[in-house]
Structure formats: C-alpha cells, structure tokens
Assembly symmetry: C2
Homo-oligomer: 121 residues x 2
C-alpha cells in the first residue's frame, strides 16, 4: 500500500484568505497549520502554550513589546506562552504554525480577526 | 531588541553524521530536531507518541509492515504512535522531526543505532 504524504505546496494552493490558519496534520494533540499572512495582525498572547512559526515562503516579522524577530523562508521562531506578539508581513508570506489543537489565532485578544479554529484542508 | 530566528540551513551545516537527531527548538514539551538520513535505519515504533517527519531537502521513504510512504522536500508525514516503521533514504536527505522531548530515535527497538536524545545545536 502506498501512503500519501502531506504536500505543503498543494495545501497552500487550496486557500487564499489571510490570517486564517488551516489544519493539515495532527500529531498527538497538536495541530500543524498553514496560514497566509499579509499586512498587520492584532496584538495577542496565548496564555497556555508556546507557538511555533516556520516561514515557508516570503518574509515576516513578529513584533514584541520589547523588540522584534524577522523571519525568512527556512527560519522558525518559538513564541513563548504568555508573551504578547503581533505578526506582520509587508507582502504575502506563507507560514507553518505548530500549536495545540484548539489554539485560537487571536489568543487572549478575541475580536473580529478571530478565525474558525478547526478547519482542515 | 532584535530576536534571532532559528535558521534551518545554518543548523544543518553544523553536523554531518547520519541518523542522529539534533534539537533546534522546544515548544512546550516537544522538540524540533534536524536529522540527516542516508541508507537504511532499523525497524522500530514509538508506543507513546506520534512522530512528524518533514523533508527539507532530498527524498526519503518510510516503510511500514503493510506499505510505504515516499516523501520529498516540502512534504510531511505523521507516523501514528505504536506503528512499526523503517526510514530509508537512497541518498542523503535532510529532515525536520517533531516529537515529545525524550523521544529516542530507535523507539522500542534500542540497539547500537540509538542516538543520544538530548543534543542541542
């Protein structure tokens, strides 16, 4: 039997909206999600969990209250739990997120930018 | 303050041995590890956890008792917990592994291919 891997490029072609993470894989109680960033997001934090950002294509930054991380393709960053952050991408950027299932994109902030948290593609 | 991201290519340049995963990041109680595969590994399983393989460069396969998955760069696969598997790479392949901290490369099999489980680069 031939098992099919998950192809990131193929999954990325299935959606175009920004700031709306889509689940592509589950490992134990963690989700791997793809998301397209463009422009500014909202300040928020995740009080219960760290969050991994891995850039697949493009460039982004993560602003913190005391500084900034800049990420390009092939780079990753772990945002520690409880730390306020605001992702930003000057032009469209494709990112792999890893975080516990049920993690909400806006974390503690809520509001109109909150995406559905359980959409598989 | 400028925070530095983790650069996969730079980390990969820091070791050359095969089948010996190196930790590059921690998210909660999970580790992100880089590993270089070449040739055959041993049959093993992880009774307590799923395991994610994401190919960064090259090609590999994961053999199961009932079939096989073939992965190329930009593809990932979740090996379910308890499922026997044997990674293989015809030529050198660079892989990102995600699994709980303390996960041993040979899982239930043990033996001489067992690598130290807590090496950061």
């Amino acid at each position: 039997m031939e098992y099919t891997p998950i192809k990131l490029r193929e999954k990325l072609s299935k959606f175009s909206e920004h700031w709306s993470p889509k689940i592509i894989a589950q490992m134990n109680d963690y989700h791997f999600k793809l998301v397209k960033f463009s422009g500014d997001f909202v300040w928020h934090r995740h009080d219960e969990t760290d969050e991994v950002f891995m850039v697949l294509e493009g460039e982004m930054s993560i602003q913190f209250r005391d500084g900034k991380a800049r990420l390009r393709a092939g780079e990753l960053f772990v945002v520690p739990k409880g730390v306020e952050h605001k992702p930003f991408a000057e032009s469209e950027c494709h990112v792999l997120l890893v975080e516990p299932s049920g993690t909400i994109n806006t974390g503690s902030a809520g509001g109109e930018r909150t995406a559905a948290d359980n959409v598989w593609i």
